[in-house]
Symmetry: C3
């Protein structure tokens, strides 16, 4: 039996395989329960603070949806401009204050390590919804869950991760959950956006199989799952670097149909043009189902850390 | 029996007279039920996404109020700046994502036709809260409902619509619901802001009585209902055109008292100075009651499209 | 028995001692009830409008939290930019509209007297969450409640109020509630930011003991409660005046430990650097408990003005 009651959700690396399996099983259970009713009552009367210091559509709205589907309520903000941050308040003071009000804190903040700083201060569990180029663990969980949902199992999967692997927090969090499974990882990135050495070194020390390449075509042929990511403009300091690299990889319908029609395609979204829209209607295009899975995963996390389910 | 279950609400023209009557009857029922209790339970557990890409006070808050008064919850945003639109996400992708989360989508977006584009994509019913200079059907319904509430019936009414009839989406949606009734329409606008020819041609083909003038004084004398609208700065491309036309029509208390003390005055609000504030206390000044009616109408629509009422 | 049903909460001066005591007793009751359950049902189905025309973290989120903890819902906005104020709507029209929708209005607005203007118009009770350099009565109540909670009683307390006493609406509202108790008030401010003469004259006429000084060190020695405030940049018209005065008083851990280790330190927050962060862990550092007390006080006010409790 696992016990996540009162735990913070900060880093993809924090979970054991047993915990990952349990979180996904609870997500499955909620998905089934919501087939016949619009919401559940596990968190009736509980309040989530959604503190988004950076823009977000999916992460914020799916945390809020998860809370409502469990019968709870939400307070918060979607940009720092309407808050006392404009008066010079520190992150620590904002968190310490909000901690007086609510039962859970979900947050996104541009500073690396910000969620961990918040978790040290807050009594309420903190759920990291993205800390700059750092981690995005709920995304990693919903990605993993989508692989399991689409393929029936995770072990034995060849996962191709493609795009900005240097700055992409979703892939950084991702490798920390994939490592518990018998998967082969293929990293596809332009030279300047390769997976950071600290992560590849870590994978080596853990004995995880991976390879690196800049060739999407070849990688796609052997992929069971292709995980595309956006080249994130907001992570570049020079506009010219972004302009040069932004169209490095563009997945087209023809590529999928010719090279690997059965591939399951994921994307954390938003996309700009990494995936042509005519890919969307292919049966393996799972990125919007992936967004929906985010609600079930976040429901599972909230119910587990509230101790309403073990 | 009508059946609106699962329907989108996109255009004033989509309703039959029977549907209009049923929506207004349900609005009346909710109004009565709320006399004795603060909220109802028809949509307990349901979630509305309120996606406002443009500023709004009334439409957003009254959709949200309607949802809460039916026992439901709301997620969303009140400006695109806090969303992934800032990262280059298309409307289509935003809608397809939110559609994974919620049971209804109410939206306002500056692009003509945006709500219809959203409705093609979304499984959840889409309620158009204004698409640029296009349509605003829930406003048309609440306007019609206010005429019925204030006068007891709609047939036999002379309606004077005054202001920016060229760009005013509330009047464009409005004529599409008035056409089902025995009404006389009088359009009062400066030459440059006349009702578009496509709409007057449509009225002619439908055999609807209307006349056009730029003389508010004469029109007011024969009005049962005067519908004032704002000259909308945000619809002009040249500031000088706006400046010249913005004060074309200003309704004063003296005008009402001298010309037509019994007239029912409506306005979709916000007003700038089209109606002097000393008009507000006249018994026929119905524009704030009209705002309240927006809650009952939106409750009716939500309950009907959820299939909780037929 | 007091009766606050339907009352507006506009000004610190509006309460009798009996009302203050009752509000604090109800706050205590709610605090106790929330020990064993996440929320209560007093305002199930009721809707609060939180209309924040100026940035806020604490006041807005604690009003919203209070409403949710009582089982109610919230609509509103956290900045005027997403509303029809951008189209030229007056405060009066915004309030009159929102009044059609909701059961309570909590608001913050930069204009002195704005909450009173709103209260004259709205049928729904208005709760002033700050009107420029005017009043902030719910803050005054939660400050008073924190003094009672921390010390067991209010009578007999020496209160030192320090910082920008000229522009600080929390201290202006504060003196209006302290006046009902046997307290000694010490005002510590630089010459340019002294308590306005209109307030000191009023205290004299009421026979309230107070003294004025610019010496924090001496004042601290005799304080039972030290109420620090921020020098508010947004209240200055000249940047140079702000720069010169902003660091007038900085409370350090050493000062507290050497001069008065038992002092209860309060602050309405946000702080910039008026209180060094190493003060936070001293047992008398009560400013985050004070923030929490804001929820109980606002719950008490909402339940009392709704008539759900007498």
């Amino acid at each position: 039996m696992i016990n996540l009651q009162g735990k913070d959700i900060l880093h993809g690396a924090q979970f054991s395989r047993e915990e990952l399996e349990r979180i996904m099983d609870v997500a499955d259970m909620f998905r089934n329960q919501l087939e016949t009713r619009p919401s559940l009552d596990y968190l009736h009367g509980y309040i989530l603070a959604a503190l988004f210091f950076e823009p977000s559509t999916r992460t914020r709205l799916s945390f809020e949806t998860a809370m409502h589907r469990l019968g709870g309520s939400v307070v918060g903000f979607s940009s720092a401009e309407s808050t006392s941050v404009t008066k010079g308040e520190t992150l620590e003071d904002t968190i310490r204050t909000v901690d007086q009000y609510v039962d859970f804190i979900a947050m996104r903040h541009p500073a690396l390590g910000s969620a961990s700083r918040a978790a040290e201060i807050a009594k309420a569990p903190v759920l990291n919804g993205g800390d700059g180029a750092g981690q995005h663990p709920t995304q990693a969980l919903l990605d993993l869950y989508t692989v399991r949902s689409e393929r029936g199992q995770i072990d034995g999967t060849t996962l191709v991760l493609c795009g900005d692997l240097k700055n992409g927090r979703t892939v950084h969090s991702g490798v920390e959950v994939y490592k518990h499974y018998q998967v082969r990882l293929v990293f596809v990135a332009p030279e300047q956006l390769r997976m950071p050495a600290v992560i590849t070194a870590r994978l080596k020390s853990l004995g995880i199989q991976f390879e690196e390449t800049d060739d999407l075509t070849n990688a796609l042929k052997k992929a069971d799952v292709l995980y595309m990511t956006r080249i994130q403009k907001e992570r570049f300091t020079k506009a010219e670097d972004y302009e040069r690299l932004k169209d490095s990889y563009i997945l087209t319908r023809q590529m999928v149909e010719n090279l690997n029609p059965k591939v399951v395609t994921l994307h954390p979204l938003p996309r700009v043009n990494e995936i042509a829209t005519d890919v969307d209607t292919l049966p393996g295009a799972a990125y919007f189902r992936q967004a929906r899975n985010g609600v079930y995963i976040r429901m599972a996390l909230l119910a587990l850390i509230a101790g309403k389910i073990q």
